[in-house]
Assembly symmetry: C2
Homo-oligomer: 361 residues x 2
């Protein structure tokens, strides 16, 4: 297979390729001009506009030895769309700023667009433009997503007496990152070959080989890969049936405790969480036991969960969970007091947030 370096292709040819590829995707009548003019042009609608943007930098947010280009492209869109979903809105228009080094090849370039296309196919929305540049040292990925909604759910709005809910489970992604960093070369390559939506069966019988500080460890493939893919290809949660009932909502990107703190800050309220109610996957618990890690620490401050954290006066858990694949759990209440967590023994302690911080000392 020919795999030319981008330097041999030239920007204009690459742009043309992208334009051809995404031109056919749009069936949104409101898109007047997509890729190809100085700016994209969109007809007005009588809905609120929500805008978010996220940057992913090589060596900081990702390492191309640990993720495939397609996984990375999918994640770039997911993390942005998660921010739109967490406002209770629908993603509509997507813009990309991509920087590639002169060493980058078409496999990387095409792979990232494959992942982006996969994500857009899954979530909806149209790629309408962006910028394609050289970068001196690192691959740089930025996406901006414009969403729309009639009613928007903010971080503020939670009131004492509301209950606190979270989708699915937290900690998997943080644990997945820890596993990823310990994989041997063979396992790492197997992970990089995983498609965005990996079926659990196709690699039956395989195992993940880890190089831990205490020596080599073999991990059940199914369990390990589930956690790893939560890190490499997180899926933004659909908020359609949650938003109408939520008084406040955000997505958990920096850890449950830290992001709950943000909701409390913006809403001017306190909160109490119950340790035993914080949902953790069986895979997280099994793998943590195998590797001697604390699953609860990962669940409350692992980061990159991209689960929805919301408050609601009441939420019909049974009805919702019987009709949705992604379940919701009630983990605590909004109060007018301090932020606290109550452990399994009933002991109360202050909620201390410890999430990931850029430029942290």
């Amino acid at each position: 297979m020919e795999n030319a370096r981008l330097a041999q292709k030239g920007e204009l040819k690459l742009l043309k390729k992208v334009r051809e590829r995404f031109k056919a995707c749009s069936d949104d009548k409101r898109v007047i001009v997509g890729i190809g003019d100085d700016a994209a042009v969109i007809a007005p609608a009588d809905k609120k506009i929500v805008v978010t943007t996220d940057m992913m930098n090589e060596g900081v947010h990702f390492d191309l030895n640990y993720t495939s280009a397609i996984q990375l492209g999918f994640k770039l869109i997911s993390v942005n769309i998660s921010d739109i979903m967490s406002m209770g809105c629908v993603p509509k228009f997507i813009f990309l700023d991509l920087g590639f080094t002169s060493e980058a090849d078409e496999e990387l370039f095409d792979g990232i667009y494959d992942g982006i296309e996969k994500a857009i196919g899954f979530y909806g929305g149209d790629l309408l433009g962006g910028d394609l540049c050289s970068s001196r040292s690192d691959t740089i990925l930025v996406a901006t997503v414009i969403g729309e909604g009639d009613s928007v759910v903010y971080r503020k709005g939670a009131a004492p007496g509301d209950r606190i809910y979270v989708t699915s489970s937290t900690g998997d992604s943080g644990c997945g990152l820890k596993i990823l960093k310990m994989l041997d070369d063979t396992s790492r390559e197997m992970v990089r070959k995983q498609p965005v939506f990996a079926g659990p069966d196709e690699d039956k019988g395989k195992e993940l080989r880890l190089l831990t500080p205490d020596g080599p460890v073999r991990l059940d493939w199914d369990k390990g890969i589930k956690l790893i893919m939560r890190q490499l290809t997180p899926v933004a949660r659909d908020s359609k049936d949650i938003a109408p009932l939520a008084t406040a909502m955000l997505d958990i990107s920096d850890g449950l405790f830290l992001d709950l703190g943000r909701m409390c800050d913006e809403s001017g309220v306190g909160a109490v969480l119950y340790e035993e109610r914080i949902p953790m996957s069986q895979e997280l618990m099994d793998v943590c036991q195998r590797l001697g890690m604390d699953p609860f620490q990962l669940a409350v401050s692992g980061g990159e969960d991209y689960e929805l954290l919301f408050a609601a006066r009441s939420f019909p858990l049974d009805i919702y969970n019987s009709s949705h694949e992604i379940k919701v759990s009630c983990i605590g209440e909004i109060t007018d007091g301090e932020r606290a967590v109550i452990d399994r023994a009933g002991r109360r302690s202050p909620l201390k947030a410890a999430g990931y911080e850029h430029f942290g000392s």
Copy 2:
């Protein structure tokens, strides 16, 4: 003066600082939420929405030895707003993705925001959000600007018989870049100290010292600095009184010839340009003569001019130019034939575009 490295401050403190700074700027009643939630929220309007985004990477688009942080922040906004203006629209909402290395200090951080604030003060618009990240090796700057307009002007729409117009003059910025690269250390530092809107008088009597392949050259400060500042702090041209008459328009970012080619491609037309009509500043001609450079080559393919290039059935040049500081020139006509340029001797030759291309071979 304390100039802490960003690593000592932490992302949350830095974000808080940005939020405080730009919170007061907005008096746009349509901004429901700016910085501080998962996404910005804007109330709908019955206008078309235009969106553009541009990336500027250290070592590719800028060199911090040659530009100050404030100049750079201003340019980041200018180049994006130029794309909005060239659609005949008004810039409204601005989003930033900034990546700083662990070596970056507050002087760089604050300087970039100073320049951004200066630009927003000049052009209008509100900073509503973005992302602030670590970057492994380089400073990475991305801005996304959302504009609005009732009628939008595209690259397509030019028809045979239309005349071709350009604002101000081209080539200054390309020449400015060439000068910049030859400055000695002292002159370079003087340039980095120039405010975004430098008065021509305050450095009267100074000179720029260049190290050329043929030895040292001294350049008149006023002339040289004007060209350099067109490169470091370009000013997007206001299209308010042009757009209603333009059949097609774009901003010249990659060279007059290349960008005219884009208009022709999109409009499905040809064009003829007259060499003698292409506006060149006195400074460009004087400096090129002094340095043995070809001003015409810079004017037609220098790049980063950020002048408006537009076609119009007719345009009241005299009236427009008598009431606007930035003048407009007619440089040719749209045809249904080939793209050609006619030189001062009346000889016709094919118009060959040679602008800057990323990943160019």
